[in-house]
């Protein structure tokens, strides 16, 4: 494996972690929006307590992926920023509103129950719904190979250059998929975090429903995918084992939910979503931005790559023990 491929892999690991952790924080916002029934307020309280201590740390995975991307693959970052300016700006607005509304809601008022603060809860929830859609859509635009070299400034019209690559069925279906996946993860994690049995059942039902919806979303994304993506996902040598594993993880997650094995459900759901992401990564090898920008072609000089790897190694030594500590303090079940 080349150094560039290794770093591309590391960036993708960071994105995967963002999907599993930051994604679930967005999913929590979705369930806040959809909170219903007699335990409505307790559902919201549980969601807020689960997100509170960790969302900033979970959010940094995205920053890490981004800075490593522009350090190690500057042309890819430049092209993404140029051609996906509009959806990424909208993602940013969503991220800004989500994060600030959450703290305004939790910290701004005179205590947690402060009802005049509730409108911040609504902003938080709506931003949590829209941001994953747009994030998924940008991922779909990348996967579909709609961001070719010279896309900008070669006389094509504004719409064709800056809008059409992402405002199309496949990219949008990936957006829906991301939203459903994040909601599914959040529901599964919340079954694990809830202390009260009724609350746990609330989220179990939500997890089962969104798990089923995830199948539908994945299937429609596959149907809408451009031929070269679908081809890779079906005929490549790694495709069959990957699909078998993903299916096994999905079945495990749903069966564990059914039999109320919360810890196992969590592992299964995380594995399922991760495997789907890695399927995407494998399908677009050797390209970092299909159809023409390869990992090797976009890579920074070796001196930069070596140092970036050293920084990652050094950072990991600090990062993983700290993360372990964070999750032990707040997510450990004593």
């Amino acid at each position: 494996m080349t150094l560039a491929a290794l770093l591309a892999g590391i960036i993708f690991v960071a994105l995967n972690a963002y999907a599993l952790l930051g994604g679930a924080d967005f999913g929590g916002g979705v369930w806040d929006l959809l909170a219903t029934g007699p335990r409505k307020e307790r559902q919201r309280e549980l969601i807020a307590e689960a997100i509170g201590p960790v969302w900033e740390a979970n959010h940094v995975w995205l920053i890490l992926a981004l800075v490593l991307l522009f350090t190690c693959f500057p042309p890819a970052f430049a092209r993404l920023g140029t051609l996906l300016h509009i959806p990424l700006s909208l993602v940013l607005i969503g991220i800004v509103l989500r994060g600030s509304a959450f703290t305004f809601w939790r910290y701004g008022g005179g205590g947690h129950g402060d009802s005049e603060q509730r409108h911040w809860g609504v902003v938080f929830a709506v931003a949590s719904l829209i941001t994953p859609l747009l994030l998924g859509t940008t991922a779909g635009a990348i996967a579909s190979g709609a961001l070719p070299n010279g896309g900008a400034g070669n006389g094509r019209e504004f719409y064709a250059t800056y809008v059409a690559p992402w405002l199309e069925p496949f990219a949008l279906s990936v957006g829906v998929f991301a939203l459903v996946a994040f909601a599914f993860l959040a529901a599964v994690y919340l079954t694990f975090e809830a202390d009260e049995p009724e609350l746990r059942e609330d989220f179990r039902r939500r997890a089962l429903a969104s798990g089923a919806a995830l199948f539908a979303a994945a299937a429609s994304a596959l149907l809408l995918s451009p031929p070269f993506v679908r081809g890779a996902l079906i005929f490549a040598s790694w495709a069959l084992p990957l699909h078998v594993l993903t299916g096994a993880a999905a079945v495990t997650a749903l069966a564990a939910l059914w039999y109320r094995r919360w810890r196992l459900a969590q592992v299964g759901a995380a594995a399922q979503v991760s495997l789907i992401l890695w399927g995407w990564a494998l399908s677009q090898r050797p390209y970092i931005l299909p159809p023409d920008l390869t990992v090797a072609g976009a890579a920074a000089p070796p001196a930069t790559l070596r140092l970036a790897l050293a920084a990652v190694a050094l950072g990991a030594v600090v990062l993983f023990p700290s993360l372990y500590y964070l999750f032990r303090v707040f997510k450990g079940r004593g």
Partner: protein, 458 residues
């Protein structure tokens, strides 16, 4: 509005917004840690209350800092893709290190804010220390990246291609040390005096309030030393730009003509068309003395630079004057505080001092903004000084005025909300029946006074 101007304005607004929260994120954790440590040492609940209230306000500000910082990381690609394509491999290094510093900061912030009852007091204090250290580290890393834009090194240009990239050399650029010191001090000075100023306002009404007295003391311990050092570190910065970025110094000082024994220009309005500065007070030889430590040294004027490479002289000059004026005020005020503290005077009953500190509340932040205008506008028309022009770095996407207006409105809205929420929280500070008449030893020097005897000093 041209696309270039819209992009520059959006970048400028985003940074000017973010820097407020970044500065607070660097300095507030230090103050919280000092308060918490005092609680652990003295056992006085008042310090714990202080640490918790500060932490509550900081939590809101941190979140806004984090999201506005995220916007910036994306904006580098959304607005300046050609800059990033050029520079990413050279200065990505400090950004990557910064990424890890953010991680430790965010992780231990979560532990600090939500862990009061979950971990031991000692572990809690260390979590606070980790936040303070990684906050300062992330600020230093990003400033190193900015310093490289002012003093680019660590690569060679062959036929427009970047070769021989050396990211370590890029991080060791000539501006890095002076900028990193100046910025870090600025964070402590600005936040320290902002917090001290707010508590001084309360003390003007109620000088015996023990809560605000402790708060003032800790804020000044953090802010005053930094404010005293700031002119010295500013001098280091000025001597750096005198050698490496003559156009910036010339604009900051409004020097149109290269001359030996240059005078220092105070105030005045630079008339670019006439190439002279009107209504200014000139102090002979002082600029040469300050910039080169030699009264007869030659200071390059703007005439040494082609007019199309001039920055916006009036704005840079006025920003620089503003920063130096505010810096002087804060430094003198800090010396006054230091003198009174050394004489063991009671600060809170000195009404003139309290007024002077209350007046200083916004000054550090204004100086920070003004200083960045000097650095960033003074570098124009270059995004990478002498290497890449801002006009060549901007994205080809048209219609940039739309995101500029959108983000400006978003930031205005957020700014108003933050101020409103903090205002409500500050109003809820213990006004004070809770702490009134509370018997407290003053500071760590052991001169115990009760509230009744405090009136005698000042």
């Amino acid at each position: 509005m041209s696309d270039l101007l819209a992009a520059r304005s959006q970048m400028g607004i985003s940074l000017a917004f973010h820097i407020v929260f970044a500065v607070i994120g660097i300095a507030m954790p230090l103050m919280m840690v000092v308060a918490e440590r005092r609680w652990q040492v003295t056992g006085h609940a008042i310090y714990l209350d202080l640490a918790k209230r500060w932490a509550k306000g900081t939590a809101t500000l941190f979140a806004v800092g984090a999201v506005s910082g995220t916007v910036l990381s994306f904006e580098l690609g959304l607005l300046w893709p050609r800059f990033m394509e050029f520079a990413g491999s050279i200065i990505g290094m400090p950004f990557s290190l910064e990424g890890f510093a953010f991680f430790t900061e965010a992780i231990f912030l979560g532990v600090y804010l939500y862990g009061w009852d979950r971990i031991s007091p000692r572990a809690h204090l260390w979590a606070g220390v980790a936040v303070a250290v990684s906050g300062a580290a992330s600020g230093i890393f990003v400033v190193i990246a900015n310093a490289w834009m002012n003093a680019p090194t660590g690569f060679e240009l062959v036929g427009g291609q970047v070769v021989s990239v050396n990211p370590i050399a890029a991080m060791g650029n000539a501006a890095a040390v002076s900028q990193a010191i100046h910025m870090t001090l600025a964070a402590y000075a600005a936040t320290g005096f902002a917090v001290a100023g707010i508590h001084a306002l309360f003390l003007l009404r109620d000088p015996a309030n023990a809560f605000h007295r402790r708060a003032l003391q800790i804020a000044l311990i953090v802010g005053a030393p930094a404010a005293v050092l700031q002119p010295l570190s500013g001098d280091l910065s000025a001597r750096h730009i005198a050698v490496h970025q003559p156009a910036k110094l010339a604009a900051a000082e409004a020097v149109f003509h290269t001359q030996a024994g240059a005078p220092l220009t105070l105030g005045g309005w630079p008339d670019v068309a006439a190439r002279e500065t009107r209504f200014a007070v000139l102090i002979p030889y002082t600029l040469s003395l300050l910039a080169f430590h030699d009264p007869h040294a030659v200071v390059k004027g703007l005439d040494a630079v082609a007019p199309e490479d001039w920055p916006n002289v009036p704005v840079v000059h006025l920003s620089f004057q503003l920063m130096v004026a505010l810096g002087t005020y804060l430094a003198v005020l800090s010396l006054w505080v230091g003198w009174l503290a050394w004489r063991r005077r009671d600060l809170a009953h000195n009404r003139w001092l309290m007024r002077a500190i209350a007046l200083a509340t916004p000054m550090g932040f204004l100086a920070v903004e003004a200083g960045w205008m000097v650095t960033e506008l003074g570098r124009q028309p270059w995004v990478i000084y002498g290497v890449l022009r801002t006009a060549d770095a901007v994205t080809p996407m048209p219609g940039l005025v739309v995101p500029f207006v959108t983000f400006t409105l978003l930031y205005c809205f957020l700014g108003v909300m933050v101020v409103w929420l903090l205002y409500r929280q500050i109003l809820r500070s213990p006004t004070m029946p809770e702490w009134r008449g509370f018997y407290m030893p003053v500071g760590g020097r052991g001169n115990v006074k009760s509230q009744g005897s405090e009136g005698e000093a000042g």
